[in-house]
Amino acid sequence: MDMKVAKKKLGLKEKYRLMTRDLGWEPTYRAKDEVFPYVNYEGIKVHDWDKWEDPFRLTMDSYWKYQAEKERKFYAIIDAHAQNNGHLNITDARYLSALKIFLQAISPGEYAAHKGFARVGREFPGVGTQVACQMQAIDEIRHAQTQIHALSNYNKYYDGFHAFADARDRIWYTSVARSFFDDAMSAGPFEFMIAIGFSFEYVLTNLLFVPFMSGAAYNGDMATVTFGFSAQSDEARHMTLGLECIKFMLEQDPDNLPIVQGWLDKWFWRGFRVLGLVSTMMDYMLPKRVMSWREAWEIYGVENGGALFKDLARYGVRPPKGWDDAEKAIDHMSHQFMLGLYQWSFGTSFHSWIPSDEDMDWLSAKYPTTFDKYYRPRWDHIRKLAVAGTPFKNFGLAKLCQTCQLPVVFTEPDDATMSCHRETEYKGEKYHFCSDGCQHIFDNEPEKYVQAWLPMPSLFQELNGDIGAWMNWVGLRDGEDNGDYSGSRDQRNFDQWRGMATSNT
């Protein structure tokens, strides 16, 4: 019996259209403004949501299938890593500082992105846009969880991981990342997309993940390589969403250009400051280095960022305002950060250290115009103090930038001998900034940034400067989590355990 009627052969695009955007409808019992109340106040004009081009047309059945395959691989590897003492395979326990910063500052950012994308996945009136955002929302909780799961085994053997949830809300340096994500989430849905979807995911995420994960591979850390690459495979979808989103906004109405450009300027600089911490990981924290921060910037900043903004020029977009200042900072920032971290290491839930001669030779080869001239002499001085038994510690109050929340440790873009410091007076109060970029961001939205929670002043107001009470409050165990790596419990244990693995005694 052949009664089969030939069905229309549907292409990928048409089939996906039926499976997603055809599901929505124009409400008639309720006003559209009631259903989507937040989509207009930012001033972005959208005339036709159907012009949205779907980035990667995954329906849920394929999503479950492919993601399950990734998950099986991931958990098989981290189970084996835990069962076989995989942590002893890393080159040196110094390396773990990078992971500790990651868990305290970046994983909570993944979670914030999860919440943020769930919100915009509901607030945009276009079904195609919503579905793409929802998939990113569920991916981002995956990233937060796989990171916690991968690093959970390190927590059992090493210090500095155990209080990441407390550190996330309380310790001073995590508020750099926290304020970044809070800033994006407190913005409207379109700005959120430019902040996280475009600037962070497209322009900057490669600088974070690719060199970082290669670094993990070079340093024998299978757990991190695995979560990193597994997360990145979702990231390719997210980056494509971010790029689609900016193109969509620019194509919908010429009036959107100045708004979008303003956000690009803001979020490039915000992201550049957050990722500054990555520069110290790459230049200082990897016992076996992959490439310098400068080299990573050449590939993922100059080359890719350049190509991207050249492509977007057809819409009238110019590269972000802080781009040139960023370029000028590249040869300085990792050194300035690491010097800062070292002097405030009493207050960090990770270790820092004075670079060895070999490290410094590598740094001067990678930074021929800056390292020997400005930074080697400072490290030499710090080392002399340490050798003399009077290590350099700064218990003073770090002045934090009101916008990015980093200590004001940078120099003028055109003069590396001059510390860079900006001030704005607003309603009778003085606010401090690390750079022109951060000052401009504040000046554009002072009412937002005056609200910022600054961890250092709070320490002195609420805890009367009692460092011990502060350490308890942030979950930092003095003498274990903090201070110099040299002489730390992590160092002693790692050396002893490795000794047990490599000898018969």
């Binding site: 995954l58 690719v210 290669s214 591979a217 690459f229 991207l308 492509d311």
Partner: protein, 89 residues
């Protein structure tokens, strides 16, 4: 000229995909790094379903790429038979 790129995990599943990319994109440059293979190409790079299928001798759904994809750069155009990365020239 701008560079487009795609990075894949280095494993048995991606080996034939990388070969297929090299066949379809004579100008592509393959960089092998620990755990990762990054392929750069000037302005445009195309990944064809058919070429991959010839390498592996079975049907291949282009969406299988997601499993081992690490990152990419360029505008993505996707249809049933190919995935293209490009920058406006």
């Amino acid at each position: 000229m701008s560079t487009v790129f795609i990075a894949l995990q280095a494993n048995e599943e991606t080996r034939p995909i990388i070969e297929a990319i090299e066949i379809d994109n004579p100008l592509a440059v393959v960089n092998r790094q620990p755990a990762m293979v990054k392929i750069d190409a000037p302005n445009r790079l195309v990944i064809r379903k058919e070429t991959i299928e010839e390498q592996i001798g079975r049907e291949f759904d282009l969406q299988e790429l997601h499993i081992n994809l690490i990152t990419l750069g360029g505008n993505v155009t996707e249809d049933d038979d190919s995935l293209t990365l490009s920058w406006a020239e």
